[in-house]
């Protein structure tokens, strides 16, 4: 019998992700991949997995899952009160799962996205060289009830972790996002630039794996650009003054001025923010 996880309750929104699709941008296919690389990589590392193994990205309210076979797991990133058979467990540690065990989640303490890693990684189908779920590319694009997620069972009883590395969790609560000026930053007036440098911005209700909108309006006189390339981390400024932070599932091209580009660390940080939380931009270089 195959080892698989059965979804008993789907929770809010969870997807299987790996580092993403490489080589298909020129066909208009988004990169996808984990929103917080730091947490996802760490979850894999403490299991001694390949750091690129597929993980389950869990948003705010976790699912309830049942395992068919023994395996080892770890959870990193947001603190979502995980439990095994209703017994509370901790993030950033390795746990041994037995056949029939149930993993569930409770109250969100801090952060937005948690990563569940499993020894050997999730073995869901690869489409266009990646296991990252994306609507229109993979058959599944979010966790639904009764779905089965395949994995490889391991009966190794040791749960020792790689203690030489430590998860630095402070970033989950910091509001400062490291960024670079975007290609059209210089076209902004000095006062518009100053607003981006010094103001706080709050996360809008429109936020998902494609983009995170910010609530505050930055009035501007920028003209649209000839449709050009965009990337995860590109911040677009619309004529109505909305800042749109493009995330991992974003389109490959866009016509709004690109005023900011987030650093990789900055992207990991903003991926952990929920509606109403504040961010500010710290310009590097």
């Amino acid at each position: 019998m195959k080892a698989e996880i059965e979804v008993l309750q789907p929770g809010l929104f969870s997807t299987i992700q790996d580092p993403g699709r490489r080589g298909f941008l020129k066909y208009g296919i988004p990169m996808s991949g984990v929103m917080d690389f730091y947490a996802a990589k760490f979850a894999n590392l403490i299991l001694r997995n390949n750091p690129d193994s597929a993980v389950l990205e869990i948003t705010q309210m976790g699912p309830k899952l049942r395992f068919s076979h023994p395996v080892k797991i770890s959870i990193c990133g947001a603190l979502l009160s995980p439990k095994i058979n209703n017994f509370p467990i901790q993030n950033n540690r390795v746990y041994k799962i037995e056949a029939g065990d149930e993993l569930s989640f409770g109250k969100r303490e801090v952060g937005c996205r948690a990563y569940l890693a499993i020894s050997g990684g999730f073995k869901t189908k690869k489409v266009l060289k990646s296991r990252s779920w994306f609507e229109g590319v993979t058959d599944n694009f979010k966790l639904i009830k009764s779905l089965k997620l395949p994995y490889e069972s391991t009966n190794e009883s040791k749960t020792e972790t790689n203690t030489s590395i430590k998860f630095i969790s402070e970033y989950l609560a910091t509001s400062e996002i490291e960024v670079f000026p975007g290609p059209e930053f210089d076209l902004l007036s000095e006062s518009e630039q100053e607003i981006l440098r010094s103001h706080n911005f709050s996360i809008d209700k429109n936020n998902n794996r494609m983009a995170i909108q910010l609530q505050e309006i930055v009035e501007n006189t920028l003209k649209p650009i000839i449709t050009g390339p965009v990337l995860p981390g590109t911040v677009q400024l619309t004529p109505s003054g909305k800042l749109i932070v493009l995330m991992r599932d974003c389109q490959t091209t866009g016509g709004y001025p690109r005023v900011i580009q987030l650093s990789e660390t900055g992207m990991n940080k903003i991926a952990q923010k929920i509606i109403g939380e504040c961010v500010s931009f710290a310009f590097l270089g």
């Binding site: 208009g28 050009g228 990337l231």
Partner: protein, 246 residues
């Protein structure tokens, strides 16, 4: 090359943006695609992805660029002293479109607004050889240049919540095909049964930047016949080598 263009700069830690003259023209596209090929050839063994738009190239690296200055110098080196030559492997794709009013939801509106008969609209749309500038917006969505001025029409004020897969539309000076159902604001004039994006194929899109496209009219029964061929895996694109008209 002592002008302001091409301009190169880092976009974050993993990408370099190369911009040419800000214009939409075949001449600029030729230049963009020529350098795209040069970069891809040079980085054959390193993992980079290069995408193009009308006047930009984005070189995306798998890892953080250690020294942007060195990287820009390398790219500039590739650009120096080379004469831009035309890509010789351009294909012309003949794409069937059914302009039946069942699919062409906005044909009557365009006919009224532009004072053109349905036949005239279809003739104007099937006459030009369109250039594929790049693929973006949705997987398999072709940015086509070459729409007849007489067919240019503004987008819908209230975009449709769902435009059908295969819908052929017009928005301002652009025309294109929706590769999958999605919300959309273009005026819809027909539907093409051909698969522009197939996730189970490598590469997932047959047509690429620089290729040419010409539409031809098919009837509803031909539309159904081609759809059937696609289902049975028998469909093949009608394409010929394109020599260019200039």
């Amino acid at each position: 090359m002592n002008s302001e263009f091409p301009r190169m700069r880092a976009m974050g830690e993993r990408a370099i943006l190369i911009e040419f003259e800000p214009e939409i023209s075949e001449k600029t596209l030729e230049k963009v695609l020529f350098y795209k090929n040069k970069i891809e050839d040079h980085y054959f063994k390193v993992k980079v992805e290069v995408i193009n738009t009308y006047n930009s190239l984005l070189v995306y690296y798998v890892y953080t660029i250690e020294n942007v200055y060195d990287e820009v110098l390398t790219l500039k080196g590739l650009f120096e002293g080379t004469k831009i030559t035309k890509n010789t492997t351009v294909q012309l794709y003949n794409i069937p479109v059914c302009y039946d009013t069942e699919f062409g939801l906005d044909l009557k509106l365009i006919s009224r607004e532009k004072n053109l008969s349905l036949d005239q609209i279809i003739r104007l749309h099937t006459q030009p050889i369109y250039t594929v500038y790049f693929i973006g917006f949705l997987p398999g969505f072709l940015y086509l240049g070459g729409l007849d001025k007489k067919l240019q029409i503004s987008r819908k004020i209230h975009p449709r919540m769902e435009v059908q897969k295969g819908a052929v539309g017009i928005g301002e000076n652009q025309t294109g095909i929706y590769p999958k159902s999605s919300p959309g604001g273009w005026q819809i004039i027909g539907n093409s049964p051909v698969p522009l994006f197939d996730k189970n194929r490598l590469p997932p899109c047959e047509i690429s930047a620089g290729d040419k496209v010409k539409f031809y009219q098919i009837s509803k029964s031909e539309f159904l016949k081609i759809s059937e061929e696609i289902k049975e895996g028998k469909f093949q694109f009608k394409k010929v080598d394109y020599e260019g008209g200039n």
